[in-house]
């Protein structure tokens, strides 16, 4: 039998708690807090404690969907990214960069949010970036 722990960052919010995902013979079997992590110090909230559960949830979206004729159809990542890039470009050309806005997420890490901010300002060329935690 194989058993090991892989350190990762909690996907649920921006606090940056770390925990281990427990892997047994290639299967994800649970979450274990990381005692010596400076952010979470071995403590988690209920979302972190159950972060292994959504991975195998049948309700999880595992493929990109593109709306065609009013219905979502499965697409490849290339198709999906091409579609998004084309629409971004078209909007920026026709209406200027401020016609675009980006909504960041509390469910990704600080670093990912940083990258998103850079993408918005440097690539898209707009300051229109906000996040869903502005209540």
């Amino acid at each position: 039998m194989n058993y090991e722990n892989v350190l990762t960052t909690c996907p649920y919010c921006g606090a940056g708690c770390n925990f281990y995902l427990q892997i047994m013979d290639g299967e994800l079997v649970g979450v274990l807090p990381c005692k010596d992590h400076p952010v979470s110090q071995g403590k988690l909230c209920i979302k972190g404690w159950t972060a292994n559960e959504f991975v195998t949830s049948p309700e999880r979206l595992t493929k990109p969907l593109i709306k065609r004729d009013g219905k979502f159809v499965e697409a490849s990542w290339d198709e999906a990214l091409d579609a998004v890039a084309a629409k971004f470009k078209a909007t920026r050309e026709n209406h200027g960069p401020d016609a675009l806005a980006v909504l960041a997420s509390a469910k990704i890490t600080n670093e990912e949010n940083y990258a998103l901010m850079k993408f918005t300002r440097a690539v898209l060329g707009t300051n229109n970036i906000d996040h869903c935690a502005r209540l």
């Binding site: 090991e4 722990n5 350190l7 649970g30 274990l32 990381c34 988690l44 209920i46 404690w49 559960e53």
Partner: protein, 274 residues
Amino acid sequence: MLTEIRKHCADLLTRKQVAAVYGLRERDGHTAPYLFTRAEDLDGLTVGTKVPVTFTLRPAKKNIISAFQEKCPGQKIAVLVRGCDERGLYEVAKRGQIQVADLAIIGYACDADQARACHCPRPHPQNLKFGEKVQGPSNEAFIAKIVNMSVAEREAFWRAQFSKCIKCYGCRNSCPVCICKECWMENDAFSPTGWLPPDFPMFHFVHFYHLSDSCIECGACVDACPMDIPLNLIRKVLSKKVQEELFYTAGQDPEEKPPLASREEAKERLEKGI
């Protein structure tokens, strides 16, 4: 101590006396449990940090050793334990989760600082192989804080403490002896889903009572609590009561029966000298 432990484990693996060594591995500055199957990986083996090796996998509701024994029946596995890890193993063994006979239990002692930090009265395993036994601090001094309060003061104290609870279930999840398939703490009768903080003292009462004769005083619940609720204060009061009333101490002997789940009279236990 670490060098000798690594050497001992390497010996066990190379002489094929065990199929695996279960212990702690340090990697990138962080320590986590690991199942060593190759002697050359043992360089990463570490001990002495307060990372437990016995805890219950969720949603499987069993620990790693019991998962191993299910997958590889009859295969021997060595487990590196501290006092509390061993006690945790014994408690789940009593409940039929693991076969102690198929384990090579290798124990090491905690030092006095660790024992003080854990408020641990027995900072060493029975299968002690490495390190020197030290005396743990007494529970009496620790629980005096609530023993000396009046009933009304205790209520005020715990109301304030439990009102901090965010129902993360960390205290249960990290407990080495919480193995129930159906957990009363998830029962809406005690604590409706989505209600915070949980009603005083329902949610916590269930956990305290259900562990009263199996709590091994490892402190894992307290360590896991993001709200710093001193759960071990009550657990130690109960352990004391169980000792006085039922002549029983959890985690001592895997052959014993948990008193609150067995029909034996406390007196019979005393006569048998257990």
